[in-house]
């Protein structure tokens, strides 16, 4: 029985495991290796960065008498709570996809395999997919704990087990929740509901933390008593949370109490087995019913209003066709709405942060600081734009999906197609970035010079970022991606993010010197020499030229690649 079960599960997992194994043994092709190396370097840099920061923070804590270790343990417990929340969130989305929405499910369910075998195979797949990234990127933090606390081998083994069990628990709970959820809400809508809930939760948590003003915790004037502070740190975390068991076992292993660590690990393991068994029993009872329901979710007829046709009547035919198509498909795709909420949340948080800046308490002259922040804010706002563009402009071409043949067989040139895409995203994203810049500048009460400089600079930089998104998105499309987030996290998406970061940094660096001189001259009423004016003009001209190239080159690159692409 068990042998049959394992055999069937292994067979069902073969479509996932075989390509991985094959890639491992045959990863020799030039392009693939290049991508692998780039991703490897970026990943390693992030990994080392996490380790470095964690090590510094923990060393600092270690140096604080009496409460240093307490702070480190509190941080450990917080990291595990956040990791557990991330594992749950990612687990729900992955389980939804793997259990109910993947394209291969029709084939899988037509196979002569038992329902629970299918569920277990899909669940294992989902568990690996949803947890590897969280585990890999929290690993440097735990490594830093081990190094700073000079822990033995037992600590590393206990940490590995605790994290693996946490991932299994989160994934099994997610699968259970998803199977029950799909019986109530159609699978296609549930993903949007979950993302929306996640976004709202994030915004609420963020605002709650911001409103508590955590910066006051390091303000000595605020402490009434050290004892009150210590007792709050020592308060136990929720005893029924799986992250608390993981935290307790890791903490015990850190201090060398291996028996205590093993007890908490056993606690986690028994719960993991319990939830897994519950999930399998539930799957036997309702998984197939839920899957059938997901196939038959009804779609409502659309009422014809012709409003967008009337609004965009002034545009030439092909431009109108793509503009209306883009807007309608965007508004009708529920997964996109949640992204709009996310952007709104980003805007609120971004502007609120500037409102909360305690500039008046700074020892540096306020007018100087206000304008320095405004200048740096240009870079920050453009990085926010890059993140938003990575989610919207970069996947724009891939979103044509397999209907791209319509574009390639139509009498519309690829260049026109890319330009239409460019303008569709350029106008709203320009409005978003200028709102960010003007809003934060008003809160900072910057000088008119800085207001004009930042709005004009952003006006010239936004086209470059959007063009890079559209151009690189056309050069590295993924017409088989199931959602835009998948496209954005691809190799091309990474190239886009790096290119944008380099472009923004280059323009900011080009402008930094001239702007500083202009600002000081304006502030002190001093005239500038002809040579300085020449330098300033050259720097601004170089920034303008760079912006021009950032528009032209990526679009041409994308056009060439997309034209030559085999469908």
């Amino acid at each position: 029985m068990t042998h049959n079960l394992m055999h069937d599960v292994r067979l069902l997992l073969a479509p996932r495991t075989l390509p991985v194994l094959r890639r491992r043994w045959s990863c020799g092709s030039g392009g693939g290796r290049g991508r692998l190396i780039t991703l490897g370097i970026v990943g390693t840099l992030f990994w080392c960065g996490f380790f470095g920061i964690s090590w510094r923070v923990l060393r600092y804590f270690k140096g604080i008498e009496d409460i240093g270790d307490l702070l480190a343990y509190k941080l450990l417990s917080m990291i595990l709570v956040v990791s557990f929340a991330l594992l749950l969130f990612s687990g729900i989305l992955t389980a939804l996809g793997r259990l109910f929405l993947s394209r291969d499910l029709l084939l899988v369910h037509s196979l002569p395999a038992a329902g629970h075998c299918i569920f277990i195979a899909r669940w294992i797949d989902a568990t690996v997919d949803s947890s590897w990234m969280v585990l890999v990127f929290t690993m440097p933090v735990f490594l830093a704990y081990g190094t700073v606390f000079a822990a033995g081998v037992g600590y590393y083994a206990a940490t590995f087990l605790a994290l693996a069990l946490l991932a299994v628990i989160a994934s099994a709970l997610s699968a259970l929740g998803v199977m029950i959820g799909v019986m109530v809400v159609p699978a296609t809508r549930m993903r949007s509901v979950v993302i929306l809930m996640g976004v709202l939760l994030f915004v609420m948590l963020y605002l709650a933390i911001r409103l508590m003003r955590p910066e006051q915790l390091v303000d000595p004037e605020v402490f009434d008593s050290l004892l009150v502070y210590i007792s709050s740190l020592q308060a136990p975390a929720a005893p029924f949370l799986p992250s608390s068991w993981a935290s307790d076992s890791i903490q015990a292993a850190l201090t060398g109490s291996m028996a205590t660590s093993a007890f908490h690990l056993a606690q986690s393991a028994s719960f993991a087995v319990l939830v897994f068994c519950l999930a399998v029993i539930t799957a036997d009872a309702i998984y197939f019913k839920g899957f059938s329901k997901a196939q038959t979710a009804s779609t409502a007829a659309i009422r014809r209003r012709g409003l967008s046709e009337r609004i965009f009547r002034f545009l030439p035919g092909p431009v109108r066709a793509f503009t209306i198509k883009e807007i309608k498909t965007f508004l009708r795709d529920q997964t996109q709405w949640t992204q709009l909420f996310l952007i709104a949340a980003l805007l609120v948080i971004y502007i609120y942060n500037f409102d909360a800046l305690p500039l008046e308490k700074s020892p540096i002259q306020t007018v100087y600081l206000q304008n320095l922040f405004a200048f740096l804010n240009m870079g920050l706002a453009l990085l926010v734009l890059t993140a938003v563009a990575a989610r919207f402009a970069y996947p724009a071409v891939s979103l044509e999906k397999e209907a791209i043949w319509l574009v390639k067989s139509s009498p519309l040139s690829i260049r026109s197609f890319l330009l239409i895409k460019f303008f569709i995203y350029y106008l709203p994203l320009l409005a978003l970035t200028e709102t960010l810049i003007v809003g934060t500048n008003l809160l900072l009460k910057v000088t008119p010079f800085m207001m004009i400089l930042s709005t004009v600079t952003v006006f010239f930089l936004v086209p470059g970022i959007i063009a890079m998104g559209i151009g690189l998105g056309a050069a590295y499309p993924d017409f088989k991606a199931e959602n835009p987030a998948q496209t954005a996290s691809s190799f091309g998406g990474l190239v886009f993010m790096l290119a944008c970061a380099a472009y923004v940094a280059a323009v900011i660096l080009l402008q930094a010197g001239p702007v500083y001189r202009l600002f000081l001259a304006d502030l002190h009423g001093r005239p500038l020499s002809a040579l300085v004016w020449l330098w300033i003009a050259a720097a601004f001209a170089a920034a303008f030229l760079l912006s021009l190239l950032a528009v032209v080159l990526p679009l041409r690159f994308g056009e060439k690649r997309l034209r030559q692409m085999h469908l």
Binding site: R304, G317, A321, K325, K328, T329, W405
Partner: protein
């Protein structure tokens, strides 16, 4: 109306289509048959301007596809084998989208869209999202869209896949009507009966090469099969046995 000259497509070292030359006149229905992987879809993609050839040329209504792709495509109605569409548009919105791209005037669109939707029995579903359509309905919608701008050339890959018997009869009749109006139709198919029924000439492609071309009678003679059906002709010419 359609001129293929020495058309070649290589994928790395593999040659999918080798030196294909053909000429299809106005009002002619040309059938393209061949085993799986013979190069039919690759040829059709090159003819539709969806894929660039490695060598050779495609001329549509006297316009070189390589030199003036937009002008050439404006004269084509292209129907691929798999009906991938914008799933979040309704059938009517998709027709409107196509009409705008091909420059069909708004006044003409309304009547034309209503007529083609009725012809393909899609009127009742015209305001439903395409994602709720069946495979056959999507195929019919693509055909309706391809005819909106009155193309001079119709390029069709596997026209009958996914269609019900009624729709197959209707499409066969429609193709004959279009040919009578002077439209050149190039279609690839695995349904030999369809090719035999409606095609004026048939080309047999195998491993990227054109083995034979002519009327069904010409092919029978070439295959030396007497009065046998096209199936036997196909098997003989491609060197397969039943």
């Amino acid at each position: 109306m359609i001129e293929l000259k020495n058309l070649t497509k290589n994928y790395g070292t593999h040659s999918a289509v080798q030196g294909l030359s053909l000429s299809i006149g106005s009002g002619e229905i040309f059938g393209f048959i061949g085993p799986n992987g013979a190069g039919k879809t690759t040829t059709i993609k090159m003819m539709g301007g969806v894929m660039a050839p490695t060598a050779g040329s495609v001329t549509i209504a006297g316009i070189d596809m390589q030199a003036q792709p937009q002008e050439a495509k404006r004269r084509i109605g292209f129907i691929p084998d798999r009906p991938f569409l914008y799933e979040k548009l309704t059938g009517m919105e998709f027709l409107r989208f196509t009409a705008d791209i091909y420059g069909v005037a708004a006044g003409r669109f309304r009547d034309k869209a209503a007529a083609t939707l009725a012809m393909f029995s899609l009127t009742d579903w015209s305001n439903d999202l395409i994602e709720s359509y069946s495979h056959g309905m999507k195929q019919r919608l693509i055909m309706a869209a391809a005819l909106l701008h009155d193309p001079e050339v119709l390029i069709v890959d596997e026209p009958m896949v996914g269609l019900d018997p009624l729709a197959i009869i209707m499409v066969k009749k429609l193709f004959r009507q279009l040919a009578a109006q002077g439209v050149a139709i190039f279609m690839s198919t695995h349904t030999l009966k369809v090719a035999e029924d409606i095609c004026d000439r048939i080309g047999i492609l195998s491993r990227g090469r054109l083995l034979a071309v002519g009327t069904v009678e010409d092919l029978r003679r070439e295959a030396n099969v007497g009065s046998a059906d096209l199936e036997q002709v196909f098997l003989n010419l491609t060197g397969h046995s039943a």
